[in-house]
């Protein structure tokens, strides 16, 4: 397994186990690399759209579906609480974890709270909708906005 894959797994499993993103030093300790090598791997993973980095190049803004910063989309699963990047990623968190969860968000127009239980086979029946203003060809033009 190459260094970038080891770093990717360390980052994603840190999110899965704790609900928050790791510092580069935590990843370095987990995979046995120097922090500078971890940052090199971060850049390679960002180029593959597996990470979105903060402006400092060391903090993790997104490890989709996990968000490294607070968002309006919260997922409760097991003992952990996760932030998701968007509505799609909110369902992506229980899908990635492979265990049930509860999504708490709100309607972007009315502000009405959403509480959506997601089992191993998918969400409970719901009339709520997902909507994106941005077509697929432009999603990565500004992925934070998307």
């Amino acid at each position: 397994m190459d260094d970038a894959t080891r770093v990717k797994l360390a980052v994603y499993w840190h999110f899965a186990e704790t609900g928050r993103g790791p510092a580069p030093e935590e990843v370095a300790g987990r995979v046995g690399l120097a922090p500078g090598d971890v940052l090199d791997a971060y850049r390679a993973l960002a180029a593959q759209r597996l990470l979105v980095l903060g402006a400092d190049g060391a903090s993790i803004r997104m490890a989709p579906p996990f968000a490294g910063v607070p968002t309006r989309h919260v997922v409760e699963a097991g003992v952990n609480r996760y932030f998701a990047n968007c509505a799609w990623d909110a369902l992506g968190v229980p899908a990635a974890l492979g265990r049930p969860g509860t999504i708490r968000s709100r309607c972007a127009h009315s502000g009405e709270p959403l509480r959506l239980a997601v089992g191993e086979d998918g969400p409970e029946p719901s009339a709520w909708l997902f909507h994106s203003l941005v077509p697929a060809a432009r999603w990565w033009d500004d992925i934070v906005f998307t």
């Binding site: 397994m1 894959t5 797994l9 994603y12 499993w13 899965a16 593959q48 759209r49 597996l50 989709p64 579906p65 989309h73 968007c86 509505a87 799609w88 990623d89 909110a90 369902l91 992506g92 968190v93 229980p94 899908a95 990635a96 974890l97 492979g98 968000s105 709100r106 309607c107 972007a108 127009h109 009315s110 009405e112 959403l114 959506l116 997601v118 998918g122 969400p123 029946p125 719901s126 009339a127 709520w128 909708l129 997902f130 909507h131 994106s132 203003l133 941005v134 077509p135 697929a136 060809a137 432009r138 999603w139 998307t146």
Partner: protein
């Protein structure tokens, strides 16, 4: 990429922004997207769908048209 409680809320929100509404996606369709993209994300051999694969994935969930094609011509 946001949640809305109804189609009326989508239309009102888009009207306030001066943008035409995009396609509406049901929660069961969104689960299909979520599992396709993320169910293997914690595994060593996980990979993202390629641009060539994506339209077929969307079509399998009933999501068709240029909006869902990452290779579509880019306006503007």
């Amino acid at each position: 990429m946001l949640f809305f409680r109804s189609e009326e809320d989508v239309r009102a929100w888009c009207a306030a922004l001066g943008s035409p509404p995009g396609p509406l996606v049901r929660m069961d369709q969104l689960w299909g997207l979520a599992t396709t993209w993320y169910a293997t994300r914690l595994q060593a051999d996980a990979r993202r769908p390629t641009p060539a694969e994506i339209p077929g994935i969307f079509a399998g969930l009933g999501l068709t048209g240029e909006f869902w094609d990452p290779r579509a011509p880019r306006a503007g």
